[in-house]
């Protein structure tokens, strides 16, 4: 079972040690997930801290029904989405701002930031494609982070690739 060492520490009520291990293992992954939702690094770092503090508070209640990573990612998604909603951190980029400066797609591709193109995708496609490249192209990791089946992740990924290619061609 994944995170067996953390589970052992938890069963011995060594919460501090378990927490440190979780931090070592997941702080970057959680930060990437949060950042892909909030799209602002400083705020994402703050929210990542909030998530681990929540995790610290509920660690004694962990009941082993779900994997620790699933539990942590659920807290992460909920906290990030709630931060995005309450503080309007969701950014929308007007389509006009994203138009290529040249009709020739090759020149447009040179000039246009990929980030701007990605921001024109649907929200879920943005998360999937961003996390896929951040997580070293690990479909399984992304599926776990977003709590979606691997097949769904692939399907979003393929649609995102087609949409990005169309944008570059237009």
């Amino acid at each position: 079972m994944a995170d067996e060492d953390v589970q052992r520490l938890l069963s011995k009520k060594r919460f501090d040690a378990a927490f440190e291990l979780l931090l070592d293992r997941y702080q970057n992954k959680v930060f990437r997930l949060v950042n892909s939702i909030l799209k602002e690094t400083a705020r994402a770092e703050e929210v990542t801290q909030d998530i681990f503090l929540k995790m610290w508070q509920v660690l004694p209640d962990y009941n082993r029904r779900a994997a620790l990573s699933t539990w942590l990612y659920t807290i992460s998604r909920n906290t990030s989405l709630s931060a995005a909603r309450t503080e309007s951190y969701r950014k929308t980029v007007p389509i006009d701002d994203c138009e290529p400066r040249d009709a020739n797609w090759d020149v447009g591709m040179q000039q246009m930031e990929m980030k701007q193109l990605v921001e024109r995708l649907s929200e879920v496609q943005q998360h999937v494609i961003t996390l896929f490249y951040l997580q070293d192209r690990g479909i399984e990791d992304v599926a776990q982070m977003l709590d979606l089946p691997e097949g769904t992740i692939k399907s979003h990924l393929h649609r995102a690739r087609r949409a990005l290619a169309n944008m570059m061609r237009s």
Partner: protein
């Protein structure tokens, strides 16, 4: 294999899931189909751009320190595991001492009985706690 299937196979390649047999079939199709070859070239460029431009954000160097500081203000440390045992034994010792002074019985009898009762109560409590913890897990 139609062009849509070929395109899906191209995507599988970017996900690192293409066997050598499938790759050969793909190459054969690409050499015979200019539209798919163009699609492949465009998707390859897109993949390179995405790899180059989607880079992992870095947590600041002070992340852990600042988290620990917030954590220390958040909640008092839970009681140490040994505290209930210590409290039980200390309480028993005090009770035996007071009983030895107050009861009109010989001191060795009171102390002996007190020690036996305290140990029996401690064993029973440990057993019940263990059973309860196993049950809640």
């Amino acid at each position: 294999m139609d062009c849509f299937e070929v395109q899906e196979r191209i995507f599988e390649g970017f996900e690192g899931e293409l066997s050598s047999e499938k790759k050969k079939q793909l190459d054969r199709h690409l050499s015979a189909c200019p539209a798919c070859a163009q699609f492949f070239a465009l998707q390859s460029r897109l993949d390179v751009r995405l790899r180059e431009e989607i880079t992992p954000p870095r947590l600041s160097a002070s992340f852990r320190v600042s988290l620990q500081e917030r954590k220390s203000h958040l909640r008092r440390e839970p009681w140490p595991d040994w505290l209930p045992d210590f409290a039980h034994l200390a309480g028993s010792a005090v009770a035996i001492g007071v009983s030895a002074v107050l009861l009109p019985l010989p001191v060795p009898v009171v102390v002996g009985t007190g020690v036996v009762v305290a140990l029996a109560a401690y064993s029973l409590q440990t057993m019940l706690v263990g059973t309860f913890e196993q049950w809640t897990e």
